[in-house]
């Protein structure tokens, strides 16, 4: 018997923490982790509303998000390794070859 707003509020806090991490941290790996945190915030909402409406679809969607996130992490980390090889750093501010 927990009010639904509690879960939603928790999700909001997690999400904003993730955003702040993405914006403030320079370590590309930590930025990546912050993204995962944001995924989790969204997943939490899915599961919450799945329980609220008694619909299994919400949970299944979380399952798909997780698998796709796993794929994304695999590719993303591979990219990190590659970038590190050329830049000798994973400081995200070094990746500025798009400068206009």
């Amino acid at each position: 018997m927990i009010p639904i707003e509690y879960f939603v509020g928790l999700s909001i806090i997690m999400f904003v923490s993730g955003i702040t991490g993405v914006l403030l941290r320079r370590n590309a790996l930590v930025v990546f982790m912050s993204l995962e945190l944001m995924f989790n915030a969204a997943n939490l909402l899915f599961v919450t509303f799945a329980a609220y409406y008694q619909l299994l679809a919400g949970q299944l969607f979380v399952f798909f998000v997780m698998t796709v996130a796993a794929a994304e992490v695999a590719v993303g980390l591979a990219l990190m390794v590659e970038i590190f090889k050329t830049k000798k750093s994973i400081d995200i501010d070094q990746m500025n070859s798009m400068k206009g």
């Binding site: 018997m1 927990i2 009010p3 639904i4 707003e5 509690y6 879960f7 939603v8 509020g9 928790l10 909001i12 806090i13 997690m14 999400f15 904003v16 923490s17 993730g18 955003i19 702040t20 991490g21 914006l23 403030l24 370590n27 790996l29 930590v30 982790m33 995962e36 945190l37 989790n40 997943n43 939490l44 599961v47 919450t48 799945a50 329980a51 008694q54 299994l56 679809a57 949970q59 299944l60 979380v62 798909f64 997780m66 698998t67 796709v68 996130a69 796993a70 794929a71 992490v73 695999a74 590719v75 591979a78 990190m80 390794v81 590659e82 090889k85 750093s89 994973i90 400081d91 501010d93």
Partner: protein, 183 residues
Amino acid sequence: MLTTGTIIFGVFALVVIASALGMLLSRNAIYAALFLVLNFATVAVLYLILGAPFIALVQITVYAGSIMVLFLFVIMLLGAEKLPAGEPLGHHRWIALLFGLVFLAELALFLVYRAGMRAAVNTPPLEFGSPAAVGMSLFQKYALPFEITGFILVVATVGAILLTRGEGFKGRKRTLEIQSQDK
């Protein structure tokens, strides 16, 4: 209105928030990753409260387990625990914090507007969200998305291997040569 449920929720919620902030604030990337593991594990407990045992276990095995191990592995491989301090973008930090707060305030406002409009979440019956129920649904109704997800995973694996394979790959070597010639 403090019930047992809310107290339990409150404890876990605090752990979630604390671990999130810890990840956010720790200078060392290893610590950040460990905080995130804690965070994921706690969220998995919340999933259990919400009647999603299958998802909770997947969260622990896939997220807190394999994905975070991958993170730690890469961190150690690259030796990228710490970055030299310094912020090249002077105003960026404060603008980011400001808008982060604005965004938080907006979402909070949204929550306040809608507060009390919905009933509380009841813990669903035991069979809801059980591995059996999830499996039935996954292999019947969602068979096609399931297959596509599998395909995406294969593609991602192949892509990751190709990206990191480096010198051993002939075609890649040639492109690298061309790049060095351009320089």
